[in-house]
């Protein structure tokens, strides 16, 4: 697709013409080359995918180029009200789960706060109040009701985020960095290396992630780090494929050719030029993947294969309610035991996906970047003049 197809370009060019006309009158008397309009050429550059940075790279100031695009993306993200709301939701959910109960590391209390009223594993009718019975409905004392084993659901939902959320971010961090390296190497070297490496990715892609995670957990057993391994072991393939595609297009750019021509070593070229440029789509994919890992962890928990049964983890909590729900609990239907833990997963994943969409919009140079970049450049110019 050429730049001219995009209607966004046309309007931007119109703006550009107007501003150029104005600046021309300011600079009366200078020699001007007609037929070559620097502004327009610069616009074209920024239109090509992730091109801003390429421009930064050619000027020898990769860092400056990076900075500009990320700062611009950040500003656009900040103006996206739904994305900012979602960010607030995610941050507060993470904070609440962290502050829900005190955290001890090797017997030392590092986090003394306790937002949750009860310990998530305390069986209320044994140690707190004998009048509490399993599946008590929500009340002022127990805002989300009592679960099938007589534990306070509200406390459990608050604490439950610890596992899911942290596993989500840890797994995405590990898989994205490995996928970045893998894809960058495959795309940069090309040829046989690329062929072999990408065939491996094809093979990994043939297995649905959840199936592999189930198999890994079945062999390793449940637990926190086992879950991390289960989702990391094969989760990198998507990033690798994405990065490799980006790198293939980047490797053709002039500044990479130039870097190679002046004798830069492969590793330096990959690290300084190729990898940073493939970063934007990677960040988008990573932000969208946090939600799917969280769902996957919860799904394993729900199937009884995640954390130990009884752990206050969102998915594991749902596992315990399923039997009573399907068999019918003798009279009342304890909807709270199903609705609240699942709702917590849903809200978190929804917020994560809104953030991902927001990052996508903010970093996507093609969709909205033209006018934005234009305005910034004009602002810069205005600043110079005053």
């Amino acid at each position: 697709m050429t730049d001219d197809d995009d209607p966004g370009t046309d309007t931007a060019d119109d703006d550009g013409t107007r501003s150029r006309a104005r600046s021309r009158t300011d600079e009366r008397g200078r020699i001007r080359i007609t037929g070559f309009e620097a502004d327009r050429v610069r616009d074209r550059d920024s239109l090509s995918e992730w091109g801003d940075e390429a421009a930064g790279g050619t000027n020898g100031g990769t860092a400056a180029g990076m900075d500009g695009r990320w700062r611009r993306g950040l500003r656009r993200f900040g103006r996206n009200r739904s994305a900012m709301t979602a960010l607030a939701v995610v941050v507060s959910m993470a904070l609440v789960s962290l502050l829900a109960r005190p955290v001890e590391v090797l017997g030392v209390v590092v986090q003394p706060f306790a937002l949750a009223p009860y310990d998530p594993t305390t069986i209320l009718y044994l140690s707190v109040d004998p009048s509490v019975s399993p599946y008590d409905p929500p009340s002022w004392r127990f805002p989300m009701g009592v679960d099938g084993s007589g534990r306070d659901l509200f406390s459990r939902v608050l604490v439950g985020g610890r596992y899911s959320i942290s596993i989500g971010f840890v797994v995405v961090g590990l898989t994205a960095s490995f996928g970045l390296a893998y894809g960058a190497i495959a795309g940069y070297y090309g040829g046989v290396v690329d062929e072999v490496m990408m065939r491996i990715v094809d093979v990994v892609f043939a297995f649905p992630g959840l199936v592999l995670a189930l198999v890994v957990v079945a062999t390793l057993g449940g637990g926190y780090w086992q879950l991390v391994i289960a989702f990391s072991l094969f989760g990198w393939a998507g990033y690798a494929r994405l990065v490799r595609g980006e790198v293939l297009s980047i490797a053709e750019r002039e500044y990479v050719v130039a870097a190679k021509a002046i004798g830069a070593r492969d590793r330096a070229v990959i690290r300084r030029h190729v990898a940073p440029n493939a970063l934007s789509p990677l960040v988008v994919l990573a932000s969208l993947n946090v939600g799917s890992v969280v769902i996957g962890v919860a799904a394993l928990g729900f199937l009884g294969l995640g954390m130990d049964p009884g752990t206050a983890e969102w998915g594991t909590m749902l596992d315990a309610t399923r039997e009573t729900l399907i068999q019918g609990p003798g009279g009342r239907i304890p909807w709270w035991a199903t609705v609240y833990p699942g709702g917590a997963i849903f809200v978190f994943v929804l917020a994560m996906n809104v953030i991902g969409d927001g990052i996508n919009d903010a970093l996507d140079a093609r969709a909205a970047g033209v006018r934005e970049g234009k305005r910034r450049r004009e602002a810069d110019r205005g600043g110079d003049e005053s």
Binding site: F205, V211, L214, G304, G328, T338
Partner: protein, 318 residues
Amino acid sequence: MSLRRFVVRRALSVVPVLFGVSVITFGLFHLTPGDPVSQLVALNPDVSAAEEARLRERWGLSGPVWRQYLAWLSNVLVGDFSRELRTGRAVSGILWRRLPETIVLGAFGWVFAIAIAIPAGIYAAVNKGRFGDVAARVLALSGVSIPNFWLGLLLILVFSLYLGLFPVLPPSRLPLYHPETLRYLLLPGVTIGTAAAASVTRVMRTSMAEELNEEYVTAARARGLPERTVVFKHVLRNSLVSVVTLAATLTAGIVAGSVVVESVFNWPGLGSEFVRAINRREVNVVMAITLVTAVAVVLANFLADVLYAVLDPRIRYD
């Protein structure tokens, strides 16, 4: 490149992938400590070393790993997936009995997804920025974000327990072609199809909105064609191409989803069998289902590529 040559070349590229799939499947179960025989032996301390050796021989677990692999592969290629450790039933029999159930469920999920998503995507793109579009986008985003097991539980909660419209448990021994099956199929089918429906809606809306900005649309409108012709005859066909590229990913999603959804609804397909086999450590069953799943995904990918090449001839020249 002619279509036939493209198909042949693409089919040939499936072979190494299938080989890799078999290696990974085998490796996952055989390079980890604690093979089934040592588990059996651990349960019974009276087993002598000679008996253990005979057991290993019987389950194909003796000799170097590569020879075990070759023996396993040659059996699998002729459809022999060995036997269940405890009952001695042939695994292929289990596969054949469970597979149709999963296919029916997955197909229903697909049909549901397409039936909802294509019209919703078209509607949202045509009415971009209006209320209907916003509603469709919010629903699609929720559909992508909702965990399928929770959705299933909620559907059971509302439709089976509160409204009593559907039975909670699936058919005990009803054959699949029985008309009553459709009623049991509805809730799990909707559950498994929701994620696909939501993704297709999102992609459909985006690609449709993009296509509507193309010059040929303006040209068609300028020629005075009615908007309906423009949307349904010109734009729709082009935007469907991007849905086809998504189809393989979504099929993988539905396959993975069947593991969870079948467990929620006690649907007697491959997915629930998989979970049961994992809990009982029936390695041969787990291996067989893992392999079948992966092969299904590879074939889905292949079909999607072929379909893509049919719809968009440019792809054949890459």
